[in-house]
Symmetry: C2
Subunit: 417 residues, 2 copies
């Protein structure tokens, strides 16, 4: 039997389903919120708090852990779960998103189809680079000649990129990403995909998607070929295709035909591009396998995602917003450092049962932010994670009860007012 | 009956005693470690963690809370305990230490007995300034003419000082400090004292001490004169006298003659100056009242302090060291960011039962510090507070058991090796 299995308990409305993902480290009751533990920790939150924050599972980043402390050290520690002291289910992403977004500085400047002056296969890292150079590599940097700066060079075999920490040159291939993820040892790992820029045109998106499918096949072979790891870890494919509906559907079909244990919907730099076509994409994926929406998961997105057939969500915004003083409430997001909360002795969210809302007032959290106390970001992150985890838990219950629509209307009516 | 009382359960060796301070917000079993919650929070630690960190009580800083959020807001919140969500016993200091150390930049440059060009009584804050100018004010700044910079001007009535945050001018008098502390509402408050520089000479230390005694009398009158607050809060006097044994003894005698509920040993910029004469000082203080050593409390100091008759200790070092990666272990302090801990998969302290040691390895905490994750300082601070609170708790038990000497020898033998 595969290490990852999925049971659907109740379906509808739309593609919504309440289910259970069974992993070597326990169950994930879905829909579920997956907190982001980039460097094997959620920023400001200790593993001992996960249970009271209603957190079942987390996702760690292969790119970051590869750079520091390195996958070999994590393997020596017994895998990322043992390393961080968490005995529940864990995912690792493939590193693709960070390689492209941190390596190339997405959103700043991107040039494509520039002939490589660097031989990407000559980069320092090992990783099954074959040396074949069938297509001209894609270079995400205009200043290649003058500095390594931010750089990601794509060729058929993989990606050569610079570390965002120290500018050193590294190389990932599908095989290398899987090798690293085997050492990190998460319950669920991802194929290595190319994350395209939202400004890339149709032709490039198609080319990148086709390459991602070849990488998907190679990732899958690398995983299934390692009998031990294949028995311990499940692997998800990643649907790409940018903002183009036909490409997304083509990608879903192509990946559905491969023997993955689940699917991620990836490459979502702009959530507007993907949320509208999620339902159509998910209809092409096998119903009996779990689906994860990569990098999107604010309250309003979660309702859309669930109804379109998404089972798990991850998102850095609860902690990133929290660190900047942005807090979720049933009435929408508030900026706690704002002057209006200085003498507000009510909880952040009067209906919330998290330890922050049970013990502290808006005035206190406001004070912590205004006086630059690290406890402010800590409490804000904890509240936001609890808020989202609990919302998704309530959504699950509403699917089981057959009251999803009512719950959604009642929540969004207050939240978006 | 006074709001603060003290019961001694067992005495010896030396002046050591195990006791209980009874406060309006519960008991403090002594000896006890008092964590520093400068701005109504322990840096990186939430009140919900106090119990598991063996923390009975905290001390907050009047100077910081006066500047932000202001004592009126804290009073509206119901006092500092309610404001921060802590229902246990709390102390506030008088603000004296911060007025002098943050206002004047102690240790940088100090000039004394410069005639004031500023009229200190003209400063913006209210506070019972009488306007009398019997002695030339003491100015802790050479550049007064060119900038407010860091400044503390002492006159008979009080101190005029600049905020370390924005350089604005403020004024504390004994009456004003007590008024602020009444609004902050802690169980134990302190008289307003002058904290002298360790470089001050004998004559100046004596002059400052005599002034502090007059301020002690005024603080006490201001407190006892407020019937409501006098029934809710206890007040401690503060022994001064710098590094001079005869002055310290004179100070202890003078304060012992006043009707305080307990005593702080203050002005300890250099712990070497005070630890050696603590026993002699405490012998002059009434045995039946609790004694607090202000600002000193690392493991080796605590043994000396307890044997010399100290009941409670506060110290910023557990959290300050923690934030910088310094961790207490039974074998002494370690710097967790050092390379030697990169692959050390043992707990920070193998004998420690704190949640950090139960769930995490040195390698993990090392990784968090090396990758600049805020969870590193959080975990380090939590461990250090637990370490000290628990050490003091064990010391208390050893007094009760009559095994203090053995416990001390066994601890220090390992700790200082």
């Amino acid at each position: 039997m595969r290490p990852i299995s999925f049971e659907i308990k109740k379906k509808g409305p739309g593609l919504a389903r309440a289910g259970v993902i069974i992993t070597p480290h326990g169950l994930i009751e879905t829909p579920a919120f997956t907190a982001v533990a980039t460097k094997a920790d959620i920023k400001g939150i200790d593993v001992t708090q996960f249970k009271e924050l209603n957190l079942q599972t987390i996702i760690s980043n292969t790119y970051h852990l590869y750079l520091s402390p390195g996958e070999d050290l994590v393997e020596k520690a017994g895998g990322v779960g043992k390393f961080m002291g968490f005995d529940g289910p864990i995912m690792t992403d493939s590193g693709g998103f960070q390689v492209f977004s941190l390596g190339a500085g997405f959103g700043k400047k991107i040039s494509k189809f520039i002939s490589a002056e660097l031989d990407p296969t000559a980069a320092g890292q090992q990783g099954n680079a074959s040396g074949s150079n069938s297509a001209p590599p894609t270079i995400y940097d205009e200043d290649l000649a003058t500095s390594h700066g931010k750089l990601a060079i794509v060729d058929e075999e993989g990606v050569t990129f610079t570390s965002h920490v120290d500018g050193t040159l590294h190389r990932f291939t599908p095989e290398r990403s899987i090798e690293i993820q085997h050492k990190l040892g998460a319950d669920i790992i991802y194929e290595f995909d190319e994350c395209t820029s939202p400004t890339a045109d149709y032709d490039y998106q198609k080319e990148a998607m086709d390459r991602t499918h070849r990488w998907a096949d190679r990732s899958l072979k690398a995983h299934r070929g390692n009998i031990k790891k294949n028995n311990e870890q499940g692997i998800y494919g990643v649907v790409q295709g940018g903002q183009f509906e036909d490409l997304r559907i083509e990608s879903a079909k192509a990946l559905a035909a491969m023997d993955f244990d689940g699917y991620g919907i990836g490459g979502s730099f702009s959530k507007e591009d993907i949320l509208g076509i999620l339902d159509k994409v998910n209809r092409k994926l096998p119903e009996e396998k779990p689906r994860h929406l990569l990098g999107i998961g604010e309250p309003e997105d979660i309702f859309i995602g669930v109804e379109a057939g998404i089972d798990t969500f991850d998102c850095v915004l609860p902690t990133r917003n929290g660190r900047n003083g942005g807090l979720y409430t049933k009435q929408g997001k508030i900026q706690i450092p704002n002057a209006e909360y200085k003498e507000d002795f009510t909880p952040i969210d009067a209906e919330c049962a998290c330890f922050v809302c049970k013990n502290h007032t808006r005035a206190y959290v406001h004070h912590l932010f205004r006086t630059h106390e690290m406890l402010g970001p800590i409490l804000a992150s904890a509240h936001n994670i609890y808020f989202l985890s609990t919302l998704v838990k309530q959504i699950r219950q509403s699917i089981l009860d057959g009251s999803f629509e009512e719950f959604k209307d009642s929540f969004l009516n207050k939240y978006q007012k």
